[in-house]
Symmetry: C2
Subunit: 109 residues, 2 copies
DNA sequence: CGGGATCCGTCTTGATACTG
DNA sequence: CAGTATCAAGACGGATCCCG
């Protein structure tokens, strides 16, 4: 995805400006989810193809890293990098805003 | 667009989670742009159809309002409502994050 | 003529079925 | 369980059209 301009908002949106990326980061940062199927269980029902794509994108951007676990079968766990954790304040600000400006929102679960 | 869950992040993303909505709000809140053609001039080059769509969406959400100006011809100016202005902290947080985590970003212009 | 809506081809995103 | 392949649906960009 090519950068549209040098504006920080524009650059950030090139990376996180879609309907799913911040949902995945929410699950990583706030709910400590780590495995593929855990992300699939969230109430927004992300599809497998989108989840695969967003995990790759976040990995390439250096916001998350994946490490294999389990001895024989290939299983991955995903976790936020230090850089990924710096997005928490952005998420928090969005939560604050939504709570005050969108009716009937709760943190799910 | 139907709400995917009651999570505030998800709800917010249903409204502002795309590549253009926050660009328009940036122009409204930080650069005080008000007219259709002013938004078109931004370096990200939004197309007229997308701009029309986003302005309608933001108006329906109560984040901006349009008022006619000019005596005879029908011209509109767009301005953020009080509710729209409450998104400024979210934008600021994104700017902070991008400045520290994405290389070579400046506020354009 | 200038503001903005509509149409259409293309590219991107998403849902589902399926595989290692 | 963790993805990939396939195909459908939607978003985008640009041109054009329409109205005041």
């Amino acid at each position: 995805m090519n950068r549209r301009s040098d504006c920080p908002i524009s650059c950030a949106l090139d990376l996180i400006g879609d309907r799913w990326t911040l949902i995945v980061l929410r699950d990583l940062l706030f709910f400590n989810k780590t495995r593929f199927d855990e992300f699939l269980e969230s109430p927004e029902h992300i599809s497998t193809s989108v989840l695969t794509d967003r995990l790759h994108k976040l990995e390439r951007a250096g916001l998350i890293e994946k490490t294999p676990y389990s001895s024989h079968r290939l299983r991955m766990t995903y976790s936020p990098t230090e850089k990924g954790k710096t997005l928490a304040p952005v998420l928090n600000e969005i939560v604050c805003w939504a709570r005050q400006n969108i009716e009937d929102t709760v943190m799910y679960g």
